[in-house]
Symmetry: C2
Subunit: 317 residues, 2 copies
Amino acid sequence: MVAPESEKSRLDEAARAGWLYFIAGHTQDEIAKMLQVSRASAQRLVSLCLAERLITFRLEHPIAACMELAARLKDLFHLVYCEVVPTDPAAPLAAAGIAERAANILESTLRSDKPTIVALGTGRAVRAAVERVSPIDCPNHQIVSLVGNISADGSASFFDTVGRLADRTKARHYPMPLPFLMSSESERKQMLRIDPIAKVRAVAAKADLRLVGIGQMDQRAQVHVDGFVTREELFEMMRLGAVGEVVGWAFDAEGRIIDGGTNGRLTSIPPQVPAEALTIGAAVGRAKVSAIRAALKGRLINGLITDEATASAVLKP
Amino acid sequence: MVAPESEKSRLDEAARAGWLYFIAGHTQDEIAKMLQVSRASAQRLVSLCLAERLITFRLEHPIAACMELAARLKDLFHLVYCEVVPTDPAAPLAAAGIAERAANILESTLRSDKPTIVALGTGRAVRAAVERVSPIDCPNHQIVSLVGNISADGSASFFDTVGRLADRTKARHYPMPLPFLMSSESERKQMLRIDPIAKVRAVAAKADLRLVGIGQMDQRAQVHVDGFVTREELFEMMRLGAVGEVVGWAFDAEGRIIDGGTNGRLTSIPPQVPAEALTIGAAVGRAKVSAIRAALKGRLINGLITDEATASAVLKP
DNA sequence: TCAATGCGTGGGCATATGCTCAAACGCAAC
DNA sequence: GTTGCGTTTGAGCATATGCCCACGCATTGA
């Protein structure tokens, strides 16, 4: 430093200005008068104080940690959107918090005048989010399912998110009247060629917002619990390295979609890699940490809604 | 509270807004968009965050403690002006820091266009301050001494602050060609009636700014060390309760000017009680703490320049 | 000595902020 | 229902802030 002395006194002045501005709450004009400098200089001192990190802000509120985690996730994984909600200490797996946020996103998207295509995936959080969307008329929008809602036994899935959201909004909607999994790859190909299905897929491909759950691939994997894949199929995917799934598409720890296994017979819309449209994953829970981390790494999603505990675990190496 | 639930979520939002504003550095407009509220509401949330003290500022700089002390002194003793400079650890008694500040005040006062009367008292800090005033022409101002500069032996005081400052500024100046102390009260009265002296006193009474030192009344009292008062006179004043003096006027621990003793024979201008014009005391040092506290209590001064160690001690009960 | 360089300064303008006011909203009692 | 009260909201405006630019001053190197 050429002039450590003047440099020092300059920082002193900056500290003074910062104190007067942030702590005493004076305006820069007042500070300028007090320090006998021009207003412009006072402004410079205040920003110097900031730039030199002489002053630090501390937010005494649980939210602060959440914001911090969200910012780190956003930065680390190049996310377009990230929201971390406080973990409910009474029920760490409760999707209520994240569902609220997801519902918020849905509502604000649907309230917009611009015609929008919203695509919905699987997952408790997504279902809960839809439940929380308050009824509004928005016939200009379209709601499309990313995933077939017919289970292996032929019955419709117990929770038709697309239909439910459409009820509340009067939006045009495109459910996907397909089994989640076909029995062979060729059968899958055949199915996808059917005109109405192709149309739904075309709409889904143009979706402006995708809201998906993230499933872990362990013995309690939702796709298995819900009866969409058998124990054997699940184990095969795990053998192939699967740690998680998004709308059924299993991926490994690096977030690469696995080649083969059930992935070859899935009817659901594959994720864009990397995600182009806003694709928000919503998930909480200790068990989902690896799956979430992988999905982020592989850029299967570019948005995330989770809770503090989960976010914190995802960031731990 | 009528609505603890909504109240809580409101504070959550406020915390979010505050985080985004102060920590992430977004504008209120951006925050409004993020939180889906109007800009006005975002502003309200940010100020709520401040009002509820959710966010705190910490200034990582030695100056911060000084500012804090200055603010407390200002508040506690209703000061118009208060400045606390960092204590020089190498020389806790060095008047350099406070002299710099005092010089600053003098300069800015003298630089003003408005014709001003500056009155100077005693003390090392005042002398050093004058030394540090950089030469400027300001013939519209007047500089007047609050205290006689002839010592007991008839010689002029070794440091003529008024003359020195006038040299540097070409301002009209009024030294007080009087002994500090007369030998009796009647002699004092007689002296003060002399026309030129009365004129000087009249000017001094109208002073817009008084800069004075604060002396302690102990065995090392400046008034005694400099030979203005004898050991016996000093002891008498101490017996009468004197803890300090301003331009020679001794006061007790409550800041009340003492009746009798040398106070009856002083030629210097008595302090206004309470001080009306800006009257700044400048002093540092462990030994002066009681004197400073008393001067503040008695409102003999309404401005103070000191250092961190002294300020801290003055505030300790 | 003088030009070159570079930092700090203050004027001025576009933008951001704080605040006021009237309107809307929710809520509770009737 | 509806009536009234208290709170919250958003438009609009005065003020404060951030930043660009041209200027000035000092330091440096030829």
